[in-house]
Symmetry: C2
Subunit: 306 residues, 2 copies
Amino acid sequence: MPFELTILGSSSAIPTFERYPTAQVLNVLERFFLIDCGEGTQIQLRKLKIKIGRINHIFISHLHGDHYFGLVGLISTMSLLGYKNDIHIYSHSELKTLINGQLEYMKGELEFAVIFHPLNMKKPQVLFEDEKVVVSSFPVKHSIPTCGFLFREKQNLPNIKKEMIEKHRIPIKNIQAIKEGADFKTESGEIILHKNLTTPPKKPRSYAFCTDTSYYEPIIESVKDVDLLYHESTFLNDKKTLATKTLHSTAEQAATIAKKANVKQLLIGHFSNRYKTLDGFLTEARNVFPETYLATDGKKYKVKPV
Amino acid sequence: MPFELTILGSSSAIPTFERYPTAQVLNVLERFFLIDCGEGTQIQLRKLKIKIGRINHIFISHLHGDHYFGLVGLISTMSLLGYKNDIHIYSHSELKTLINGQLEYMKGELEFAVIFHPLNMKKPQVLFEDEKVVVSSFPVKHSIPTCGFLFREKQNLPNIKKEMIEKHRIPIKNIQAIKEGADFKTESGEIILHKNLTTPPKKPRSYAFCTDTSYYEPIIESVKDVDLLYHESTFLNDKKTLATKTLHSTAEQAATIAKKANVKQLLIGHFSNRYKTLDGFLTEARNVFPETYLATDGKKYKVKPV
C-alpha cells in the first residue's frame, strides 16, 4: 500500500525556471493529501497526472503567498471539472477572509463545500483521523504563525500465520479476535497462544513537513523517529545570519534537526533562488546527516517500511 | 522600434499540459503592457526572460479567475524583488475588493503603490496615453462584464529627406516645424514645399485583444483595420450552440469578425481543453480569413508596419 510523497514545488518565495513555489501531494494508502498550494499547483498536478478530484484535504502551513496563492485556481478548476466532493482546508483562520471573496465571485455555483478548519498555531492538534491514518499539526517558528504537519499510519494489528489457520482449523469468525490479542482453543481443547499464531505487523510509516521555519528545537520532539522529514533549507550556512533574521533555516540546521530527531531520511527544499546549483545544500546537510536528499519538482519519494 | 506580442497563456479556463491560462505581454516601443494575468503568469515571464520590473501597466479583461489569479503572485514577487515603480491595474472595479486583502497581508510593506483604475464596462475609454502610444478599452460580450483592449501607436510626423537638408542647407531649428507641416524658405528666398521636403511617416501599428467574448458585431467597429487582432476561439463550429450558451466564440466566428473588421492578421486562442489538437481551429478560421494564426504559449508575434 502506497506511502508516497510527490514534490510539486520546491522553491522559496520567488519561483525559478525549474522550481515552483511550495506544494506537495502525499499519498497515504490512497488518501491524497495536498500540503501547501503555491501558485501553479494545479498546473503541476495536471502535468504529473495526479487526479485533482482525489484531493479533498488541503493543509496550508502559513499565509505567505508562495504557500497558498494556487488555492483559488485549484478550487476553481475543481468546480469547472464538475467535482462534487467537499474540500477541507486546514489553515490559519485568516485564510478564509483572504480568499472567500474570490470563491464567492467564482462563475457558477460551486457544487461542493469549501470547509475551513482553523489551525491551532500554538500547540499540536489532530486534524484528520480515519481507521488507517492520523494527520496532526504542530507549531514551527517563522515570521508569521506557521504549522508543521505530521502524517502517520496507524499501528496495524498482527498478521495471523496462514499455516496456523490450516493446522488448527481456525474458523473465520475467530480471526479478528486473535488479531486483537486472543489465544485460540482447538477442537481438542488445546490452547494455542496468540504470540504463536501471529507475526508482528509492519511498523507504521510516517512523514513530517516543516516549512517555513527557523532552526527551532521544539520541532525535534514533534517529528521524533519519523521515516521521512521534509525540512526547509532556504539558505546555506554562509547565510546563517540572514536565515536567522528571516526565520528560515540553513541546510546544516535542517540536518541537525533530522539528526537530533532520529528520523530515517531527510528531504530538504524551499531553496532560495539566489543559488544557481543545489550541490552545496546536499554536501552541507550530509556532513551532519548522511541520509539527506534534495526535493526536486516532479519527483516522487517513497516512504519505505522499515 | 518593437511592436511585439508574447503569448504567456493561451488556454481557456482549465490549463492543460502545454497551455497556461490567459496572459500576454505586448511590447510597444519598449513599453511593456501585461494583458490579463492568469495563474502562472510570473512563472512564464521568468521562463521567457521578460523582465518583471518592466511591467507597470496591467490590463484585466474580466474577473473570471483564469484571467487574474496570477496577479497577487506577480505583485508579491515584484515586491520581493525590491521593485519600486507603481503598478497600474485597469480592470472591473470589483477586482480591488477581491484581492486587496491579500495585498495588505503580504509580507513586509510594498515599496510601490498598486493603483486600481476602474474600467468603464459599457463604452470605449482611453486608459493610457503618452507621446507615442494610446491604450483604450471597449466592451465585448461575455457572461460577466468584459472589455477588449486596443493598443495603437500614434501617427508619426513625416520624415525629412536627408538629401533635402543638405541641398537646401536646412538648419536644425527648422526641422521640427517642417515635420509638422511648414514649407522652407532657402537663403535665396526660394520656397520649398513641405510635400517635397518629406516622405510620409510609417503607418502607426495597432493591436486589439478580445477575450472572453461571444460573436458580437459591435466589436467590428472597435477593432476596424488593426494590424493584429487576438480574438478568442474557445470552440470549433460543431460546438456553436455551446459557444452561444457560454458566451464564447468559435474559430469561424473569430475569423468572421476579423474579416468584417478588415484586420491584417488574426491570432486565435483561449482554446477549450476538450480539443487534443488545434489543427481544426486553423482550418476552420482560414476558410473565412486566411491570415489566421494560432496563439502558442511562449511564442512571439511581431506586428509589422504595413
